[in-house]
Symmetry: C2
Subunit: 332 residues, 2 copies
């Protein structure tokens, strides 16, 4: 098979530009025993990708220069030399940014597309949803009647965080960029309120939306929004640090949360999470969330970008420009 793939050939400074990427066409190799050939149908487009492009220690090794860009994907088995898979099976796995991936069967997860469409396994029932599920429930520990605020509320993780917090009986306030996203968050996702950070007076807006203060803040953005939230937290609040998309392309040293002493005043906690730590419990999370999807309590739609594999660099930039609504995937 002819396989078009995208390699990382330079580390970005600030935004990832065209100079970072090389489009290459190669032949897929013969399968060895226990390998499968996966045709990628959807690629998961994630803020974390920006971090994987950097050199240096993080929670996962950087993508090497010259290597296919790392990505999660969903697709179909084309050929199998592994006893557990046959052609036509739908799967999710780390495909990388390429049309075809040769993988060990043990790294591939079969999924059921009878009840949930394939790309949902990259979103609500994939890494984004699991990040929301474990980050909110295990680290945020929301209690019924508490106020939960989530930034990136229209995004892949934030949209699921808020919906789960509603299921748990909390008052849920989102933060998103623009009136249209805020409307989506309230009307489609059922949040109690959503604050438009682009409209200014963020602190005043949040104070009005959170009359009883903030008990849990799930942070996907960092920067000034995190710093503002620190001035609104209640006693023993929990701040879940999930990401900092406002800072990922920064070329200067990021600005730290100057109001962090509010953690002392309020005996509050700020804790970082990485979804991979919950790998042993993914099944439990997917099962519970699939139940909520089936009951109509949890929205599992995705934002599908078109254009095929070569549209990957532009699609990734859509994320950082905030042009997606919910989980962004690229149709290959």
């Amino acid at each position: 098979m002819k396989n078009t793939r995208i390699n990382l050939i330079a580390r970005p400074v600030g935004n990832p530009t065209d100079e970072c990427w090389q489009i290459e066409e190669v032949e897929t190799p013969e399968l060895a025993d226990n390998q499968v050939l996966v045709q990628t149908q959807y690629l998961s487009i994630d803020p974390a990708m920006r971090g994987w492009m950097n050199e240096g220690k993080s929670y996962i090794r950087p993508v090497k220069i010259g290597e296919v860009m790392r990505a999660l994907g969903a697709g179909v088995i084309v050929e199998s030399k592994h006893p557990d898979f046959k052609a036509g099976d739908f799967v999710t796995t780390g495909t990388g940014v390429q049309e075809y991936a040769v993988l060990d069967g043990k790294d591939v997860i079969k999924v059921d597309t009878n009840f949930v469409p394939l790309p949902a396994y990259l979103g609500t029932l994939g890494m984004s949803g699991l990040t929301a599920y474990f980050g909110l429930l295990d680290t945020g520990q929301p209690k019924e009647g508490e106020t939960v605020v989530v930034s990136g509320a229209a995004g892949a993780v934030g949209s699921v965080v808020g919906q789960i917090a509603k299921i748990k009986g909390c008052r849920v306030v989102g933060i998103a960029g623009g009136a249209e996203k805020c409307k989506y968050v309230v009307e489609e996702l059922g949040f109690d309120a959503c604050v438009d950070y682009k409209a200014g007076e963020l602190r005043k807006q949040l104070k009005e939306a959170c009359p009883a203060g903030v008990d849990v803040y799930f942070d996907n953005v960092g920067g000034e929004i995190l710093d503002t939230l620190l001035t609104l937290i209640n006693l023993r609040a929990r701040i879940v640090i999930c990401g900092a998309i406002s800072q990922y392309n920064a070329t200067e040293k990021p600005t730290g949360p100057s109001n962090y002493m509010s953690l002392l005043v309020n005996r509050a906690r700020m804790e970082g999470i990485v979804v991979f730590d919950n790998a042993a419990n993914y099944g439990k999370g997917i099962k519970e969330m699939a139940g909520w999807v089936a009951q109509g309590k949890l929205n599992a739609t995705v934002d599908v970008a078109e254009g095929g594999i070569k549209a990957f660099p532009d699609t990734l930039m859509k994320l950082f420009k905030g042009e997606n609504t919910g989980k962004l995937v690229l149709k290959v």
Copy 2:
């Protein structure tokens, strides 16, 4: 009795200056039922005092303009109309910065000076020691063999934190200002190492002193030192936010810890503490620490400043200049 007292008459901008204070001489009032008259012998000089001078919400109400400055003190009962106290009893209580205090008996704690000298009840067996005890053990949760770093290591809280961490079997590294303090921390207090932040190359010094990384960081100083520590923490590290003495007199907005995303990379936690939350368990803490003092495992000496009540403003500034070694008290 003639009572000399110091009132707060202006809120400071930056360092507290003479303009903030009014020295006043008044007569002590007649005692009502259940009141006692305490003669202050020692005043506890605490970094937290700077916060109490500010307007605005904190974990305790600000000192009002015109009011006697808040302070913990240790002294002796001169007169009592409360059944539990008699003249000659040694006590600790919130005396305020004054020579004599009229207080309700229920707000006064009798102490035993047969085994431990009176000023130790303002230090190791007082708020500083209790802050160290509960902050380190409950929030820091050090495990045997882990590396614990504490800033302000020669200070009232830091010195106790490190000694308790040693008792718990940890590798203990202090951070202090100047070779003399570092020598005291290692030789007198028994820390494994102490890093002089004034000697430069803080990160390099800490890396050498902590070859296995940092599992618990107990922060008394904030600023650049906190930010540096964030780059050295291990997976699932705990950062205890106890104070930020480097920032208390800042007139600009304080600098936040720009490396806070290390919390995510390392799934680490940063949590604020206030000793008053443990009021119900003070007895347990004092009893265990008194045992360690008796066994010679815990040093209970204090740094006594002379000069009487009028020396309070200058003595407070000694703290912010880092001129004290261990718990600072003013002899009245």
